[in-house]
Symmetry: C2
Subunit: 165 residues, 2 copies
Amino acid sequence: MTRSPAPAPVRLRSFDRSLPMGLLRAREAAMRLFRAHLARHDLTEQRWRVLRALTAAGPDDGALDVGEVAERTFLLGPSLSRILGDLEERGLLARTVDPADQRRSLLTLTPAGRDLVAEVAPESEAIYAGIEERFGAERLAGLLADLRDLEDALSDLMPRPGDPR
Amino acid sequence: MTRSPAPAPVRLRSFDRSLPMGLLRAREAAMRLFRAHLARHDLTEQRWRVLRALTAAGPDDGALDVGEVAERTFLLGPSLSRILGDLEERGLLARTVDPADQRRSLLTLTPAGRDLVAEVAPESEAIYAGIEERFGAERLAGLLADLRDLEDALSDLMPRPGDPR
DNA sequence: CCATACTGTATAACATGTGAAGTATTCGGG
DNA sequence: CCCGAATACTTCACATGTTATACAGTATGG
C-alpha cells in the first residue's frame, strides 16, 4: 500500500515579511511616541486629528462639514460622530447647521479649542522633529512618498468606495 | 492704539505629510484587499494572524504559549485572550495547560483549524502576489526594509516595555 | 519553609474600527 | 407639485485597541 501523499505543507509568508504587519508595527512604534503626550491633555490620537483638521481650516471662516473632516482625518462616520460629540461637550468645537443645506453640520473650533491646539502643537512638533533627526529627514520624506505610491497602487487594485480614481 | 500682535499662527504639519497618517492610510489600503476575502471565512485580520502564527509553529509539536503568540501576532493580551476564546469555541484551536508551568496555556491548531488555514491561505497569497506585481516585488522588499529600519529608530526614541534593545 | 515579589494570563472599562441600518433633508423626473 | 432616489449624518452591534487591575502559579531571599 503506497503512502498517502503528504499533505502539501501550507506555504505562508512569514509575518516579518508581510506588508500589513510591517505597516502596523511601524505605525505602532510611531504612535507610541505621541500617545503619552496627548494623554496628558486628555486627547487621543483621533481627537487630536480632528482638532488639527479644524485648525488647518483656519480661524477665519474655517468651517468644515463633517464629511470634509472625515476625509481629512481618515476617520469613519461612526467614530467621527462620537468624537465630535465629545469635543463639543468639552467646549472645544461648535456645531451649527449649514443654512444652505440643513443636512450638513458646520464645525468650528471654539477659542478654548484653539487654545488647546496652541498648547499641544509645540511638543507634538518637537516629537516629530526628533523622528526626523533620528531617521533622517530626507529618508523620511522618501518613505512617505513610497507610502503614497503604494497607497495609489493598492487603490487601483481595490478602489475605496467613493474614490474617483 | 496699536493693533494687538497677531496671534502666532499655529504651525502644524499638514496631514498628508505626517508619518502616522501615511502609515495608517497605506495599511488601510492594504487591508481593504484582504478584508472581504477573510470575512467570507468568518475571519478577521487578527484571527487570521493567530491561525497563521500557529501554522508557522508547525504541526509537529508546534505548541506556542500565549505570550509567544502575542509577540508574533503583535496583539495585546486582552485582544488575544478574546480571540483565543473565540477560536477555541469554534474548534479551531485547543488550549492545554503547560505541565511544566501551570500558568502557561499551550496552543495548537486542531485538524479543523489546519483545514481552514489550508483553505484560506492560497487566495490570501494570491492577493499578496497581486500587490507585488502591481507595486514591484523589489520595491516592496525595499519598502519593508525601510519600515523595519524606521521601527528600530523609533524604538530607540521610546523602547517598548520589555524590548531588550 | 514561608512571606514576598514576579510572571503569565484573564478580566474590566472605555475608545475606536467596521459594516449595516436608520433619519432627516435635498434633488430630480414625471 | 410630489414621490422616489440620493446625500449627510447618526445610531446600532459587534470586534479590537489601550490601559489598569485581578489572580493564580512560580521563583527567591531569609
